[in-house]
């Protein structure tokens, strides 16, 4: 195949992958970017959890004594210890009568036989010991993050497969984009702001793609590497008849034993934590999990925090629950270490604020990359005289999947502040607002050709500003107060919303000017034809 033929084939591939999966990719990238600060956004959305951290070192023993009785019969009892980003304790277990009580951990083939989302949650303020009332929201960790990695379609792994497909398409698009970009080296730093038509859009697309290419490739590849066991089942089935669970136990130094169906107690969890910290050579404990609590064969897993490291490896230590004697502590296998490092680059569980902000900014660049790609295609088709009906649909889809999604996200935050605290099904009501807002903005994009861009940027600006104002009014936590108190999670969210409001407002005003078409180079009047 000649160079020209090869390049044209890759251009076709790049274009159609982008068209087919661009909207989905934008949603995944947008939610992933927000998930960089999911715990901080949670503090904003759950005012009752804006705790100040423990007044004294937090006692796992006291927590077990207080909340452990409810866990007898539950497959798991999980205590997540307070941290800087989540200044409260979280206790999870399967309550009496719940579906999760029936989970058979030992016979499951799944790597995570009982996802923690299926467990009941109790939140405790470590400073006062008071139980924090149900926040009545999924927040960011319960919506933005799961939307990012499985589109809220967790059943049967369908969402993970769709996201994986999109991630693979992103990788292919990055590679094909480099090849079809004929002047990649001469145009490396080029941004021709004076140009009109598709030229500026293409320059923006190239700038967003080329200069941040290592980041985009890293994110796409690491996202796929996280679920290697799902995307490559054949090798897993061939080498590990016990499925993902066997793989996880062997490669990540895990431990498991069946319950004895005899009653048993729990020794001092604080002593187990202290012993674990000695074995780790320092570092705080993040989580304590008791499997088969109340059973003679119960065992305790203590996980280390990953705040101070990139690899997402919590170095678990296992103890016999009744006696406190250590059962297992081993390092993970070399290949698993590499996989945990790559996964850690994607999860960003570490406490490194410069890196976290850089990920956020480059995530927005990735969103811009996808959006400008779609926009460029629409501009090109308009220029070559494509069908106006197809153009209308393509432009509406581009608007709905970009500014529509941004506007819906802002509406979700506004709903969080507006919906009554005691409303039954409040969390689902917030999601409904998100869906209705997104659908409404999609319809708006179809009906308001030529003006949809500016009007939706205007909507996003108003909603973002309203969210900040409503936070101040409904919680009393004005920007001045949160900055003075050093509550940077809430202050940072407010400041970012305000910055977003300003940028969206500027875009709205800029695009409303008579000479400014949402499609540079295409006169506003011609869009309504």
């Amino acid at each position: 195949m000649s160079d020209q033929g090869g390049r044209e084939a890759l251009r076709w591939l790049h274009t159609w992958l982008g068209l087919a999966l661009g909207s989905l990719l934008f949603a995944i990238f947008w939610m992933g970017t927000l998930a960089v600060f999911d715990r901080e956004i949670d503090r904003w959305m759950m005012p009752a959890t804006r705790a100040s951290g423990p007044a004294a070192p937090f006692s796992a023993d006291a927590t077990w004594q207080r909340f452990g009785a409810q866990a007898t019969g539950s497959p798991l009892w999980v205590l997540t210890l307070p941290s800087d980003r989540e200044p409260f304790a979280r206790i999870q277990f399967a309550p009496n009568g719940s579906e999760a009580r029936a989970a058979r951990i030992d016979s499951s083939r799944k790597g995570i036989p009982l996802p923690r989302e299926r467990l009941a949650i109790v939140l405790v303020d470590p400073a006062t010991g008071a139980v924090i009332p149900d926040p009545g929201t999924k927040g960011a960790t319960g919506f933005f993050f799961p939307f990012h990695w499985h589109l809220m379609l967790g059943q049967g792994g369908i969402g993970q497969w769709i996201v994986g497909l999109a991630g693979l398409a992103m990788l292919i698009s990055i590679i094909s984009g480099v090849i079809i970009h004929r002047d990649i080296f001469t145009q490396f730093f080029t941004l021709r702001t004076g140009k009109r038509g598709g030229r500026l859009t293409l320059d923006l697309h190239n700038a967003a793609g080329v200069l941040a290419m290592p980041f985009h490739a890293l994110i796409a590849f690491s996202g796929l590497a996280i679920f290697y066991f799902l995307y490559f089942p054949a090798p897993l089935d061939a080498t590990h008849p016990g499925g993902e669970r066997q793989l996880f136990l062997e490669s990540r130094a895990g431990y498991s034993r069946p319950q004895a169906n005899q009653p048993g107690g729990v020794a001092s969890l604080d002593k187990m934590i202290a012993e674990s910290q000695t074995l780790w050579g320092g570092g705080a404990a993040a989580r304590v999990t008791i499997t088969h609590p109340g059973d003679a064969n119960a065992y305790v897993e203590v996980n280390r925090t990953v705040d101070d490291r990139v690899p997402n490896d919590s170095r678990p230590v296992y103890f016999d629950a009744a006696t406190g004697s250590r059962l297992k502590f081993a390092g993970i296998r070399p290949i698993a270490t590499a996989q945990r490092y790559i996964a850690g680059l994607h999860f960003i569980g570490f406490d490194h604020w410069l890196l976290r902000w850089l990920y956020f900014i480059f995530g927005l660049v990735g969103c811009g990359l996808i959006a400008t790609g779609a926009l460029f295609w629409v501009q090109r088709q308009k220029k070559v005289g494509g069908s106006s009906r197809v153009m209308a649909l393509a432009e509406a889809l581009t608007v709905a999947s970009t500014t529509g999604l941004i506007g819906a996200t802002c509406a979700y935050l506004v709903a969080n502040r507006v919906l009554p605290a005691g409303l039954a099904g409040r969390a689902n009501a917030e999601l409904l607002v998100f869906v209705v807002a997104w659908a409404g903005l999609a319809i708006h994009a179809l009906l308001r050709r030529g003006r949809a861009w500016s009007e939706q940027w205007g909507f996003a600006a108003l909603a973002a500003f309203a969210a900040v104002a409503l936070n101040a009014v409904t919680t009393g936590d004005t920007l001045f107060r949160t900055i003075s108190a050093g509550d940077w999670a809430v202050a940072g969210t407010d400041l970012t919303l305000l910055a977003g409001a300003l940028i969206s407002g500027w875009a709205c005003i800029r695009l409303r000017r008579p000479s400014a078409s949402p499609l540079p180079g295409v006169a506003l009047e011609s869009l309504s034809q």
Partner: protein, 104 residues
């Protein structure tokens, strides 16, 4: 990473990207005007090499300060950020690279 090291890294990466960018004729024309002569092959190679050396230096500072684990993603993002900085300067304020001269 100390603030001083961060600043030094950003400056080194920015200078490195700028040297590489200004070895390119189209970028030199943005800064000095259409009549600016093309650099000789030797001078262009020298500038690109100096730019690459500065970039390597910036990466080395990051790795030394932050360790390999954090240093790798940090270096990638800081160098990309510097490249964006040079692109923005060329797009909106190319005169900043002129240093009072009409042509280099």
């Amino acid at each position: 990473m100390t603030f001083g090291a961060f600043l030094l890294t950003c400056l080194a990466a920015y200078a490195g990207c700028a040297l590489i960018a200004l070895a390119q004729l189209s970028n030199r024309q943005r800064v000095y005007g259409r009549s600016v002569p093309r650099l000789s092959v030797g001078v262009a190679l020298l500038r690109r090499s100096a730019g690459a050396a500065l970039l390597i230096g910036a990466v080395a500072i990051v790795l030394a300060q932050s360790g390999a684990s954090f240093g790798v993603p940090l270096a990638i993002l800081l160098v990309s950020g510097a490249a964006y900085g040079v692109m923005a300067t060329l797009a909106w304020a190319p005169g900043l690279f002129r240093f009072g001269r009409t042509a280099a």
